[in-house]
């Protein structure tokens, strides 16, 4: 599992973002360190960030997630002055969204490169809903031809496919070797990978939307059934 370092001007902000993100995962949690504040006030401290990265030495790489301004600058200096040598990347994703995406991705066992991509694209889910942004851009996924198994199911969750069910879906998808994709056929969004919480959110699936599940791989039909069961059961939210 990869590790995560949260770099913020405010320790309270970093702690809250971490707590919020950890709501999305159950069971094993990824190792997270916080490097927040400087000299007793707001700010970022490259030496503290370097220590936080070094402290995660047993992980399969580290994603550094930053808030405002000097957080990136201090993090880039930290990568130079740290004593550890394993791979570490600085995310350009928005702080809260990227933290959530990274925690979910790390828990699902994704690689550093994959988690970094998820965190970087973490604004997409918001962009599909906003009316003032520069325009919705739903990630286009390919390779959905010749699915080995597929099914359609109606979404029954009153709140739609929001972050918590999306995170559960990512965890479930991670248990199979098949590539699983979801399409919101009602809204004409997707297909997106079921291993991407951000992709799933970009489906903007509401209650009663029809979801198509496609899987391709050796355990495709088991995977489709597992996802279908989640949808039918309302992701455990309706009991």
């Amino acid at each position: 599992m990869i590790g995560i370092v949260l770099v913020s001007h405010s320790e309270a902000l970093a702690n809250a973002a971490m707590e919020l993100a950890l709501q999305m995962v159950h069971g094993a949690q990824p190792p997270i360190r916080i490097a927040a504040g400087a000299a007793g006030g707001f700010g970022t401290d490259a030496t503290a960030i370097a220590s936080a990265i070094d402290d995660l030495a047993t992980t399969e790489g580290v994603l550094v997630i930053t808030d405002l301004g000097s957080a990136i600058l201090s993090s880039s200096l930290a990568l130079e002055i740290r004593s550890s040598t394993y791979q570490a990347l600085i995310s350009d994703g928005p702080f809260v969204e990227a933290t959530t995406a990274a925690v979910v991705g790390a828990t699902a066992g994704s690689s550093l490169a994959d988690v970094a991509a998820e965190a970087s694209n973490a604004l997409n889910a918001k962009r599909t809903q906003t009316v003032t942004g520069p325009g919705a851009s739903v990630p286009e996924n390919t390779d959905s031809e010749n699915p080995a198994a597929s099914a359609e199911e109606r979404l029954i969750n009153p709140m739609g496919l929001h972050t918590r069910p999306a995170a559960l879906l990512v965890q479930t998808a991670g248990e199979f070797s098949a590539d699983i994709e979801l399409t919101n056929t009602t809204a004409g969004r997707g297909p997106v990978s079921a291993s991407s919480v951000i992709g799933l959110l970009s489906l903007a699936a509401s209650k009663n939307d029809q979801l198509r599940i496609d899987a391709n791989g050796p355990d495709a039909s088991r995977a489709v059934n597992a996802v279908k069961r989640l949808v039918i059961q309302g992701f455990g939210e309706l009991s």
Binding site: A39, T44, D45, A46, G69, E80
Partner: protein
Amino acid sequence: MPETLTIDALQQWLHRFASEITTQADWLTELDSAIGDADHGTNMVRGTAAVVAKLDGGTTGTVQELLKAVGITLVSTVGGASGSLYGTFFLEMGRNTPSDVQLNGSELENALHAGVNGVIARGHATVGDKTMIDALEPAVTALSQSLADGRQLQGSIADAATAATIGRDSTKPLVARKGRASYLGERSAGHIDPGAASAAILVAALAATIGEGRA
């Protein structure tokens, strides 16, 4: 004066930098209150005081080791972008000096250029962005020009300090394009950049130290 800078002279430079920062702390903070978060003076006083404590606390060995220790101390005590940028300046200086207990003129020139280039690379700022680069870049350019013209080290460093002061003052009408002041947009014009002000103090302190060495 000899055309070399001993490790003692480097330490004197840092002491002088610290005391000048303390003297001008209120002014730096005033500048920062116009376009920033009103803590540049306080932060630099804390950082340079920590450097002085570090120098007074023990042996520093070579110039490389001295500059590295100064850089790390500033990073961990100044805080924020200023800490990372001043830290980078001294770390890069240290990385680009021979392992010795003194620097000759061209070694000092190389080290200062490396320090400034490090700050440029770290902050992605160029001249005209209303940052410390507006003071530092003209300073090292003037230093090289004067040395190339055959001026002594002392006179060349004095030219660098003059260039830094002119560069500092050139930030007044500029609109900030980097750092927190950039969030202010047009409202950042009309004030000297606090980072350029403290950077000019750094160069002036070097000139004063070398000037004193001759007396």
